[in-house]
C-alpha cells in the first residue's frame, strides 16, 4: 500500500481573529493531510493554534482563507451539523439534563436514525466504553474518567468519519490519564475511525500517535511518525520541544562540518555556520585518554532515578548533557571537575533547519 487515502486536509488555512492592526493570526498558512484510519496528533505549546485548527475541521469556525477538505470534498463552508465529524471537548460538554444513554443517543436522534437502531447503537457504545451499569445515571453523578468515556461514546456513536479530540485527557490525574491513553488507542483500533488528537504533552503524543504534527505560533513545523520527529527533528523548535536535546554549533565547508567542540564530521550542509542537535542518550562518556574522544570536564551530575544526567563542559565552554543509566550498584557519581572524554556516533547528529 503506497498511498493511503486522505481523510481530512487543510489547504493553506489561515485563521485571523480581530481586525486590522490588532488581528491575531491563530493559524498562518497551514497545510496538512491526515490519512484515513490514522491516529494523528497535533502537538504544540499552548496558544499555538491547535484548537483553532480543530475548530476549522469541526466547522465551528470558518477559515479567513484556505480550504478544509473531507474525503476530498471541500467542506469549508459547511456548518458543523452537516459535517460527519464529531468532537470530544476538553470540558466534555455533556448535556447535564440528559442521562448517560440519552447523551450517547443525542447525535443519532438528530440524524433521524430509526429508534431500534439508536437503541442498539447506544447499547454497543455503552459496552465499548464499559459504562453499561451507568446508562440511566445523570452525567453529574459520574467521576471525571467516566464522564470522559461518555463524551467519547457520544462522539463515536454516530460513526463519524473523523473524531476530533481537544486535549481530552488534560483534566484527569496521571494514573487515569495513562489508563485513558491505552483506552483511546484501543477505541481507535476497534472502530478504525480517523482520530485527530490535540495535546501539549510530548510524551502523550509520542506514545499514542501514528503521526504527529508539531505546531508553533500558527505554523506546522514538522509532520512525521513519532520516531522520525524524535530522532530527526527538522528545526530547533521541534528538537527542543520534543524531549531533551543538546544544540551544537559548527562551520560547514560544503563537505564536512567542523564542530566548535572539536571534531570534524562528514555531514553535507551548505557552507557557513550550522547548528546541530544531539539527544543526551546518544552522548557517551569515556575515559579522558580514549583515542578519538573529545576532552571535557564534569560540571554537574543530576540523579533522576533510572537515569543520571551528566553536564559536561566542553573545550569551547559550551555544556553538553549526557544521559546514562544509573549504575545498578548505586555507586557514586563522577566528581565535579573530573576530566573525561566524550564520543558520539556521527549519525546521531541531526542537522537543523531554521
Amino acid at each position: 500500500m503506497s498511498e493511503s487515502p486522505i481523510a481530512v486536509e487543510a489547504r493553506n488555512a489561515v485563521k485571523a481573529f480581530g481586525q486590522g492592526a490588532t488581528a491575531v493570526k491563530a493559524l498562518d498558512d497551514v497545510s496538512v493531510k491526515i490519512k484515513k484510519g490514522e491516529f494523528f496528533t497535533l502537538l504544540g505549546p499552548s496558544g499555538c493554534g491547535k484548537t483553532t485548527l480543530l475548530r476549522l475541521i469541526a466547522g465551528f469556525e470558518t477559515p479567513t482563507s484556505g480550504q478544509i477538505l473531507l474525503d476530498g470534498a471541500d467542506i469549508t463552508q459547511l456548518p458543523p451539523n452537516k459535517r460527519p465529524v464529531n468532537t470530544v471537548f476538553q470540558s466534555y460538554a455533556l448535556f447535564p439534563h440528559l442521562t448517560v444513554a440519552q447523551n450517547i443517543a443525542f447525535g443519532l436522534e438528530m440524524q433521524g436514525r430509526p429508534k431500534a437502531e439508536i437503541k442498539k447503537t447506544v447499547a454497543r457504545m455503552l459496552a465499548l466504553v464499559k459504562l453499561e451499569p451507568m446508562a440511566d445515571r445523570k452525567t453529574s453523578q459520574l467521576s471525571g474518567g467516566q464522564q470522559q468515556r461518555v463524551a467519547l461514546a457520544r462522539a463515536l456513536a454516530p460513526a463519524p468519519k473523523v473524531l476530533l479530540l481537544d486535549e481530552p485527557l488534560s483534566a484527569l490525574d496521571l494514573k487515569l490519564r495513562k489508563e485513558m491513553q491505552i483506552e483511546l488507542k484501543r477505541l481507535q483500533m476497534e472502530t478504525g475511525i480517523t482520530f485527530v488528537f490535540v495535546t501539549h504533552d510530548q510524551e502523550e503524543a509520542l506514545t499514542m500517535s501514528d503521526r504527529i504534527a508539531v505546531m508553533s505560533a500558527g505554523h506546522i513545523q514538522q509532520v512525521g511518525a513519532p520516531r522520525e520527529i524524535y530522532t530527526r527533528p527538522a528545526n530547533r523548535f521541534v528538537a527542543s520541544f520534543i524531549g531533551e536535546t543538546n544544540f551544537l554549533t559548527g562551520k560547514s565547508d560544503g563537505e564536512a562540518v567542523q564542530l566548535d567542540i572539536g571534531s570534524k564530521i562528514a555531514i553535507k550542509a551548505p557552507p557557513g555556520p550550522v547548528s546541530l542537535a544531539i539527544r543526551p542518550e546518544q552522548v557517551r562518556v569515556v575515559a579522558a585518554n580514549d583515542p578519538g574522544a573529545l576532552p571535557a570536564t564534569v560540571g554537574a551530575t543530576v540523579y533522576f532515578g533510572t537515569d543520571t544526567h551528566l553536564h559536561l563542559v566542553m573545550k569551547d565552554g559550551s555544556t553538553l548533557v549526557a544521559r546514562m543509566q544509573s549504575p545498578a550498584s548505586g555507586s557514586g557519581d563522577l566528581a565535579k571537575g573530573t576530566n573525561v572524554g566524550v564520543t558520539f556516533p556521527d549519525s546521531a547528529l541531526q542537522l537543523l533547519g531554521d
Binding site: 471537548f89 448535556f95 443525542f106 457520544r154 454516530p158
Partner: protein
C-alpha cells in the same frame, strides 16, 4: 484558624437589632393571619377561633370577581412578560459585550427605576385616550400594563440562568448534527427552563400584588383583589380582609419557595 475578617454578628447590639427587625417584619403579618381566624368583627380584639371570615370571603361575589380578574391578569401578564423576557435574555447574554449593552439593560429594567406612580399616571393618560377613541374597556389594558412592569422581574432570573450556562453545550449539540432550532429546543430551552419558570412565578406574584398602576388603569368594575381590599379598608375593616390577605400570603409563600428552589445553585 485566625479570622481577622469583619463579622457583623460580633458587633454589640447585633442580637437586639436582629430581634427588633424580625419583630417589625413579621409580628404584623402574624397578627394579620391570627385575626383572620377571629370569630368577632374586630381586627384588634380576639373573640375566639372561627373560619367565618374565610367562609364569608368565599361567598362574597365581589371577592370572587376580583380574585378571578387578579388571576386572569396575573396569568396573562406573567405569560407575556416571561416570553418577552426570555427573548430579551437570549438577546443580551449569548454574545460578547457590545456597544450600548448597559443602555439596553437600563431599558429592560426601566420599570424598576421609574417611580411606579409616574408610570401609572402616564399609562392612565395614554390608555384613557385609547379607551375614548375605541370605546373598548376590557381587561386588556390592565394586562398590558402589568406585563410591562413584570418584564424585569421575569428577565433577571432568566438572565442569571443563561449566564451560568456553558455555551460549549450548544456547540456540542451542533457538532452532533442538531440544527439551530433543535439545539434550542433540545438543549438551550430545557437548560434555561428553571430560570423561565422562576421568572414567570416572580412576575405572577408581582402582578398579583400590584395596587398603584392597577388603581390608575382599571375601568369601572375592574377591581383586582388588592384594589378591592383597598376599597374595603376605606369603609369598615373586618377580618374578611385579613382572610383574603392570608390566602394571598399563602399563595405567595408557596410560589416564592418554588422560585428559590428553582434558582438555587445545584452542586
Amino acid at each position: 484558624m485566625a479570622n481577622p475578617s469583619f463579622e457583623v454578628a460580633r458587633l454589640p447590639g447585633f442580637r437586639f437589632i436582629a430581634m427588633a427587625v424580625f419583630v417589625v417584619l413579621y409580628l404584623p403579618i402574624i397578627t394579620l393571619v391570627v385575626y383572620s381566624f377571629n370569630a368577632g368583627q374586630s381586627v384588634a380584639l380576639w373573640e375566639g377561633f372561627s373560619l367565618t371570615w374565610y367562609h364569608s370571603a368565599w361567598q362574597n361575589e365581589a371577592v370572587k370577581g376580583a380574585t378571578f380578574r387578579s388571576l386572569i391578569i396575573a396569568a396573562s401578564a406573567s405569560g407575556i412578560a416571561t416570553t418577552v423576557a426570555t427573548m430579551a435574555a437570549l438577546g443580551t447574554t449569548r454574545r460578547k459585550a457590545f456597544k450600548g449593552q448597559t443602555f439596553i439593560y437600563v431599558m429592560i429594567n426601566q420599570p424598576l427605576m421609574v417611580p411606579e406612580i409616574v408610570t401609572a399616571v402616564a399609562l392612565l393618560i395614554f390608555f384613557a385616550s385609547i379607551k375614548v377613541a375605541t370605546g373598548y374597556n376590557g381587561l386588556i389594558y390592565l394586562i398590558i400594563a402589568h406585563a410591562a412592569f413584570c418584564i424585569p422581574f421575569a428577565y433577571l432570573p432568566i438572565r442569571a440562568r443563561l449566564e451560568g450556562m456553558d455555551l460549549t453545550l450548544e456547540t456540542a449539540a451542533a457538532d452532533l448534527y442538531a440544527s439551530h432550532w433543535l439545539t434550542f429546543r433540545r438543549v438551550t430551552l430545557p437548560l434555561m427552563l428553571p430560570g423561565i419558570i422562576a421568572g414567570a412565578m416572580l412576575a405572577f406574584v408581582i402582578s398579583l400584588d400590584d395596587v398603584v398602576i392597577t388603581e390608575f388603569v382599571k375601568s369601572g368594575g375592574q377591581d383586582t383583589l388588592p384594589t378591592y381590599m383597598l376599597g374595603q379598608m376605606r369603609r369598615a375593616v373586618t377580618p374578611e380582609v385579613n382572610a383574603i390577605s392570608s390566602v394571598l400570603l399563602a399563595l405567595t409563600v408557596v410560589m416564592l419557595t418554588a422560585f428559590f428552589l428553582l434558582t438555587r445553585k445545584k452542586d
